[in-house]
């Protein structure tokens, strides 16, 4: 058991932090990037590719770096620290992760290399109106036509759905279950309507009308693969959330030390400092759980359960710290020109994209009686 980062991991963190701090030196830079299409900075995306980060978790034979979950966690946290709008988790961890998990060798060689180079930004078109956080598809149907497939139905909201040049789509297959398909951005019968989301990123309504698609992998029900990819993305989002919570807390503490009312700085008021202390407790408990979940993934343990645990802890921490960060700032906290509100907005989006704390708690509750005690270093987590 070792909770420390090695020197290469520390170097990676320094490098990513340096790159992102240059790109988003203040909250104005982030606002500007988010204001213009496609909702992130293409130059920063290229720089992330040059540093090898967009192929970080992919095998070297597919143009990646062959790094593990801990390295992904480090990048995600640094993204959260400045709430960089680049869709690292959406494109690399989730869509790329699915391609890496179920794609054929040929698909992996072709699609993953393009993601790693920064020339392809894929999106996972999975969410559907009227359901939530399910691993299976119901609103898009796949039909086999000769040696190909067509898709019909609607996916929404699809993060980065309008900018993406490749879509990984979940769809109901004739044989039952959920299949995964690849759709090119310029495919016939594909209509995408993008919009801005509250956190400054982008999502889209993606409509398929007999749209030609290629089977990802070799077929069969892929619900389990989707469940696993969602779990890995939930873990990565936990790290993005930790980065954002950390900054929200540090910003708030700094504000309490400088803002004066009644002739004294706000840190003279115990009603405020005690709340900041509680925010720190929430952050550190969530950070421990997020680190652990990545270690579980690294060790080959029960990723689904570990993801639920970190999702629950970071969801509660994100809401606690986010709401208090604004309250402790006062009015400035709800203005668009000040940074902290944007962090809360992003934390709120992270909370709802792939499942919130209540969702995770309900899933954990279903198996709470299976074991008398939970040993985070033992079965089923240690692999």
């Amino acid at each position: 058991m070792d909770f420390t980062f090695d020197s290469e991991q520390n170097d990676l963190r320094e490098a990513v932090r340096g790159l992102l701090e240059r790109a988003y030196s203040d909250s104005e830079a982030r606002r500007k990037a988010a204001a213009n299409e496609p909702g992130f900075d293409e130059k920063t995306w290229s720089r992330l590719a040059e540093m090898g980060l967009l192929g970080l978790p992919f095998a070297e034979e597919h143009g990646g770096m062959g790094a593990g979950p801990i390295e992904v966690a480090i990048v995600a946290e640094e993204i959260g620290r400045v709430i960089a709008p680049e869709p690292f988790i959406e494109a690399v961890v989730l869509a790329g992760g699915l391609i890496a998990a179920v794609g054929t060798d040929e698909q992996k060689a072709q699609l993953l290399a393009a993601i790693a180079e920064g020339t392809s930004v894929p999106a996972f078109a999975h969410a559907e109106i009227g359901t939530r956080w399910s691993a299976s598809a119901s609103a898009v149907t796949a039909t086999q036509t000769g040696d190909g497939w067509t898709l019909t139905g609607v996916k929404e909201p699809v993060p980065t759905g309008a900018r993406a040049d490749v879509l990984v789509v979940s769809a109901v297959v004739d044989s039952g279950g959920t299949g995964l398909f690849v759709v090119q951005g310029d495919a016939a019968g594909l209509t995408r309507t993008g919009y801005r989301t509250h956190d400054g990123t982008r999502a889209a309504n993606v409509r398929f009308d007999g749209t030609p698609a290629t089977l990802l992998g070799t077929g069969g029900d892929q619900t389990a693969a989707v469940e696993r990819a969602l779990a890995e993305a939930r873990i990565a989002y936990s790290h993005e959330a930790i980065g954002a919570i950390d900054t929200a807390l540090r910003t708030t503490a700094e504000y309490l030390k400088t803002r004066k009312q009644f002739g004294v700085t706000l840190n003279k008021f115990q009603a405020l400092t005690f709340r900041a202390a509680d925010m720190y407790v929430s952050l550190e408990l969530a950070r421990s759980t997020a680190l652990w979940a990545s270690m579980v993934q690294d060790a080959g343990g029960d990723v689904l359960s570990a993801a639920d645990r970190t999702r629950l802890q970071t969801s509660r921490a994100g809401r606690h710290v986010g709401k208090e960060a604004i309250q402790l700032h006062g009015g400035i906290g709800v203005t668009a020109e000040y940074s902290v509100g944007h962090y809360v907005s992003r934390l709120t989006a992270i909370d709802h994209l792939l499942g919130d704390g209540d969702f995770a708690a309900a899933r954990l509750a279903r198996t709470v009686g299976d074991r008398p005690t939970v040993d985070p270093l033992g079965a089923p987590y240690a692999g």
Partner: protein
């Protein structure tokens, strides 16, 4: 970053588990698990069993019976001990005065006290808090005035836990009332509880039990050789001692054990024809506490891994704060699971209420103490805000 314990640590854990579950009498462990009263003799028997195996004071210097373990080994030792419901070595001896004597006592004091302290041949109690000095401990008023070769002690201490069993007391006393800072005029004295002029009065708590006491001193003569360390440096030793007290105060293993009991008992209670454990609201409540406990355990592991030179990491305040809240949440769950049975606290023979339900409410009420002692949770928030956040 690596999740798994090394094979050596796995073997260590197994060794601890085997020892605690086979070498400490089952009757005593059953009492601890059932939250029933543990007698002085049982505490002593359990600690001597541990001490004979070198497991009572592993965190002490090797010279005095310590084991030179890593922080992770100590964590496993404590966790396994709590999971096996072994009465923990008396904190006043092993976590408080023992380490102070080993660090600041003179050679004669070390030889006189340490071995007996580890073996619970001497039962120590703590004379710190006073009626007007709780969280503001440094405002204590008990005085010690030098008279020839003796100190003469007058004043009153309170919240002296298990003082009724104690042979000796370690006491903070004011030796320099003129000191500019109130912290600078305090010394630490030790003396037998049967010294003339010492009177002990038990305080009944809301659970009906007696575990804390008031202690009164009237012209108590303490030989000068019983001063620990230097005169007027007692506050430094108290801080050192309280820092030690905070390590391990998360009590993760003990809370885990309570949650395991909560699950068992929630299976025994039926609601609308189904076990209470299958009620989604109850199951979620347990799952949420359990998840926070996982987070706390992992945070404890991070803190022990990052503690340098035996000094507690500032984040150890997080462990005290959250650890006490989760202990309280677990006791509250047990009361709620017992439901109406939870009122039968003092039922005796002739009652069909199971033992666990009888003790649930007294335990819950008693455990309100854990967010108050060891530096109240408000003191911990002050430490976090000041030391960590710089507020």
């Amino acid at each position: 970053m690596r999740l798994q314990l090394s094979p050596e640590l796995e073997a260590f854990r197994e060794e601890m588990r085997t020892f605690f579950t086979t070498q400490v009498p089952q009757e005593i462990r059953d009492k601890v698990a059932a939250h029933r009263h543990v007698s002085k003799e049982e505490y002593v028997e359990a600690q001597r069993a541990l001490n004979a195996a070198g497991l009572a004071v592993p965190h002490w210097p090797v010279e005095w019976g310590g084991r030179d373990w890593t922080p992770l080994q100590r964590h496993i030792w404590r966790e396994e001990m709590q999971l096996a419901s072994v009465p923990e070595p008396l904190a006043f001896n092993t976590s408080m005065i023992g380490p102070v004597l080993a660090a600041f006592g003179n050679q004669e004091q070390k030889e006189r006290f340490l071995a007996k302290t580890a073996n619970l041949d001497i039962w120590w109690c703590q004379g710190f808090s006073e009626p007007d000095a709780g969280s503001d401990l440094a405002s204590l008023r008990t005085t010690a005035v030098r008279d020839g070769d003796d100190w003469v002690v007058n004043g009153q201490k309170t919240w002296t836990t298990l003082g009724q069993h104690a042979d000796w007391i370690f006491c903070l006393v004011r030796t320099d009332p003129t000191a500019e800072k109130k912290q600078r005029g305090i010394s630490m004295l030790v003396f037998p509880m049967d010294t003339p002029g010492v009177t002990l009065r038990p305080i009944e708590l809301i659970d009906g039990g007696f575990e804390v006491n008031e202690v009164f001193f009237e012209d108590v003569r303490v030989p000068a050789e019983n001063l620990i360390g230097e005169e007027n440096r007692g506050w430094d030793y108290a801080k050192f001692l309280l820092g030690n007290e905070r390590v391990g105060i998360a009590r993760v293993g003990a809370t885990k054990k309570m949650l395991a009991q909560a699950k068992d008992y929630a299976r025994e209670i039926t609601v609308d024809g189904r076990p209470l454990l299958e009620d989604p609201f109850m199951a979620t409540r347990i799952a949420e506490v359990e998840n926070e406990l996982v987070a706390l355990e992992l945070t404890a592991l991070r803190v022990v891994a990052n503690s340098a030179d035996g000094k507690p990491h500032p984040a150890s305040s997080v462990l005290k704060l959250k650890g006490s809240e989760l202990q309280q949440a677990a006791t509250e769950l047990l009361v709620d699971i017992a439901g109406p049975l939870s009122v039968a606290s003092f039922a005796e023979e002739g009652s069909d209420v199971p033992d666990w339900a009888r003790v649930a409410t007294p335990h819950y009420l008693n455990y309100r103490k854990v967010s108050i002692y060891g530096g109240s949770n408000e003191v911990q928030r002050t430490i976090i805000a000041g030391t960590i956040l710089g507020l």
